[in-house]
């Protein structure tokens, strides 16, 4: 059944992929956010040190006798050295003239008002630098003069630090991704579990177990399970209908036939005229023929119906055969046939008891029907390596040169069947049953050559 079904992807895979995809996206986002934040923090730290340096230089600016004096404190530049080994540049300018420091240090593009500062990221001598520019208005010779102090530092140390931070952020992102992935698999697994459990519960059921599903299921699965239950209910009704129908059909056909047959038989015992007797005999034969045909057709329908879904149980084929032989003793006795059974204890096989009974019964019926008066039928059961064998040997003349395949075809009867009532379905039924159990039916000439030997072999589980 499953091999004919096409799959349209897997729920679990889809769920896992989506969860893992989201986790990857979130991990990347986390990485960039952490990186940006770290860069920001590093920049701010750097800026505040630069500003502190510029401010301490500014503090050392003094005007004495209309002369501007700058005494750059050692700490102003050494505090920058604490941050990293990056090179430090400075420039002190007033009224567009550089008082001290690096002449070619680029100027800020921003206008800096007195008492304020501005930060720039610039390129100086091929290196990226961060520069703070502070301004202060002095009064020189009674005129205002803006003193502008720039302090800059290359950013190699900061770049190294940022690379380290980026590595950490990457590790954090990866760790998050791994944990999220594991959780995604677990989530997918656990959300698919109720579905799996339902599947297992359904496939564990025997072929005749048509009870509705009662186990609690997640609310999303309720519509599915409801439809499944409705389907099971419909199946149960239709199955019981076919079984009832077969039983009812048998009843309807056989009851009137039984009446007619009994009446005909009684009448036959009362009439003397040979013509009447002959026609009554014909009538009884016709009734027997039709009732047997009807019976076997219905049996065949039932067998076909049941072989589709074998109701297996442990069966002792020895007991089963012995019981059938016991039951057929009275019939065999009518023809003074010695019906004997010989069986040693057997291991149980797994099979459908009703079907196997029917198969063996058909073989025994045949043997009795075709056997001559005062002959013998030997029934035996035994184990042969991994099979259990039921053998029925008669002295009924055998099946001449017809082979098993030909004899077990529907409505085909053996060459010596003329003059005996039969439908030609008995061997077909037996073969179908045996083959449904993985066994084989073999028809041979019996050891003595006086008749046939029919073997039903069933494999041990």
């Amino acid at each position: 059944m499953s091999d004919a079904l096409q799959t349209s992807g897997s729920l679990r895979r889809r769920l896992t992929l989506q969860l893992v995809g989201s986790a990857a996206f979130l991990a990347m986002l986390l990485f960039f956010v952490v990186l940006a934040f770290a860069r920001d923090v590093a920049q701010q730290t750097h800026d505040s040190i630069l500003l502190a340096s510029a401010t301490s230089i500014m503090d050392s600016v003094s005007v004495q006798a209309d002369e501007v004096t700058v005494d750059i404190p050692y700490a102003a530049l050494s505090m920058l050295g604490n941050v990293s080994d990056d090179r430090v540049f400075y420039r002190i300018a007033m009224r567009g003239q550089v008082l001290t420091g690096y002449q070619d240090l680029p100027s800020t593009s921003q206008s800096v008002r007195s008492g304020h500062s501005a930060f720039d990221t610039l390129v100086y001598k091929g290196d990226s630098i961060r520069m703070v520019t502070s301004s202060r208005r002095l009064s020189l010779n009674g005129a205002p003069a803006d003193i502008i102090i720039s302090v800059a530092q290359t950013r190699e140390g900061q770049a190294t630090q940022l690379a380290q931070l980026a590595r950490s952020a990457l590790q954090l992102g990866l760790g998050f991704f791994l944990v999220a992935t594991v959780l995604a698999f677990w989530t997918a697994q656990s959300s698919i579990r109720p579905l799996k459990q339902l599947t297992e519960a359904m496939s564990r059921r025997g072929p005749k177990d048509l009870r509705p599903v009662r186990r609690p299921v997640p609310s999303e699965m309720v519509p599915l399970v409801q439809s499944l239950n409705q389907f099971i209910a419909r199946l149960r009704v239709s199955l019981s209908r076919s079984e009832d129908f077969i039983a009812e059909a048998a009843h309807r056909v056989r009851t009137p036939l039984a009446t007619v047959r009994a009446q005909a038989e009684i009448t036959l015992l009362r009439v003397d005229k040979p013509e009447n007797r002959a026609s009554l005999r014909e009538m009884i034969r016709a009734i027997d023929e039709s009732s047997r045909a009807a019976g076997q057709l219905l049996d065949h329908a039932m067998v076909t119906f049941r072989t589709d879904s074998l109701e297996r149980e442990a069966i002792d084929l020895g007991d089963l055969t012995r019981e059938l032989v016991d039951r057929l003793h009275p019939i065999a006795e009518l023809k003074d046939i010695a019906l004997t059974f010989d069986g040693s204890p057997l291991p149980e096989i797994s099979g459908d008891q009703i079907l196997i009974q029917n198969a063996v019964r058909n073989i025994l019926d045949n043997a009795i029907k075709y056997s001559p008066y005062e002959s013998a039928i030997q029934v035996s059961t035994r184990q042969v390596s991994h099979t259990v064998l039921i053998q029925v040997e008669d002295e009924a003349g055998g099946f001449a040169d017809m082979d098993t395949d030909a004899l077990t075809q529907r409505f085909i009867r053996g060459k010596n069947a003329a003059g005996t009532i039969g439908s030609g379905l008995g061997l077909t039924i037996a073969r179908e049953v045996v083959e449904a159990h993985g066994g084989a039916l073999i028809i041979e000439t019996s050891g003595s050559g006086a008749g046939a030997c029919v073997s039903l072999s069933f494999p041990l589980a």
Binding site: A247, T255, I266, L269, D288, P330, Q357
Partner: protein
């Protein structure tokens, strides 16, 4: 033998009754479960023949109550339902055997005999005639103290003769009684069985004589 037949189909019942009475049995007929309960409560039967589908219920219900009252009388179920599905239940419910409709009377007789034999039929059913004692249940014949086991056909033939001593049975009638209708049996077969029976009856004071153009008759010598 005393039989109770529980069967609602009147024409089938009549035929079965006729046939059983022909063999010298006493038979009561109940057409439903209620009547069957009445009969079985008041009379001891040797055997009950029980149809399964009855107007006032399922024959299985009768079978169950019958068994629950610990009545030993064996029951043979007459069923028209499919053998595949029904057979197991019947024997589980305590039926001694079952037979599928339509049935051959000789099969019904054979099954009755087998069931009665299993239940250990008592010796009150022995038939005495002249010097011979015949036990149909055991299938034995004692002639002047010597016991012989008879084959089925010999036994049936002897039973037919013993049920109606001095009556003439034609060969065709005997064929009807002895053989099933689905086999072609020549009347010569009857001669063979009569011949065998005559040998067994030697010295019993009973003989089977040929009535020319009529048939056979058993009588005391």
């Amino acid at each position: 033998m005393r039989f109770l037949l529980v069967e609602d189909n009147i024409s089938l019942a009549t035929a079965v009754l006729d046939r059983l009475r022909m063999d010298g049995h006493v038979v009561d007929h109940a057409a439903n479960i209620a009547a069957a309960e009445d009969y079985s409560a008041t009379t001891d039967y040797d055997l009950i023949l029980l149809d399964i589908m009855l107007p006032d219920g399922d024959g299985r219900a009768f079978l169950r109550s019958h068994r629950s009252r610990l009545i030993e009388t064996p029951v043979i179920v007459l069923t028209a339902r499919s053998e595949v599905s029904d057979r197991v239940g019947m024997l589980d419910l305590g039926a001694d055997d079952y037979i599928t409709k339509p049935f051959d009377f000789s099969e019904l007789e054979a099954r009755c005999r087998a069931v009665l034999r299993r239940h250990g039929g008592d010796s009150s059913n022995q038939k005495r005639f002249g010097n011979l004692v015949f036990d149909p249940m055991a299938g034995t014949l004692s002639v002047a103290g010597k016991t012989i086991t008879l084959r089925n056909k010999e036994l049936r033939l002897l039973e037919i003769f013993l049920n109606a001593p001095d009556r003439i049975f034609s060969k065709p009638k005997l064929v009807d009684r002895l053989f099933s209708y689905d086999e072609d049996v020549s009347e010569n077969a009857i001669e063979v069985y009569v011949g065998r029976l005559r040998k067994h009856l030697n010295g019993s004071g009973v003989e089977i004589t040929t009535v020319r153009g009529m048939g056979y008759r058993m009588s005391l010598t």
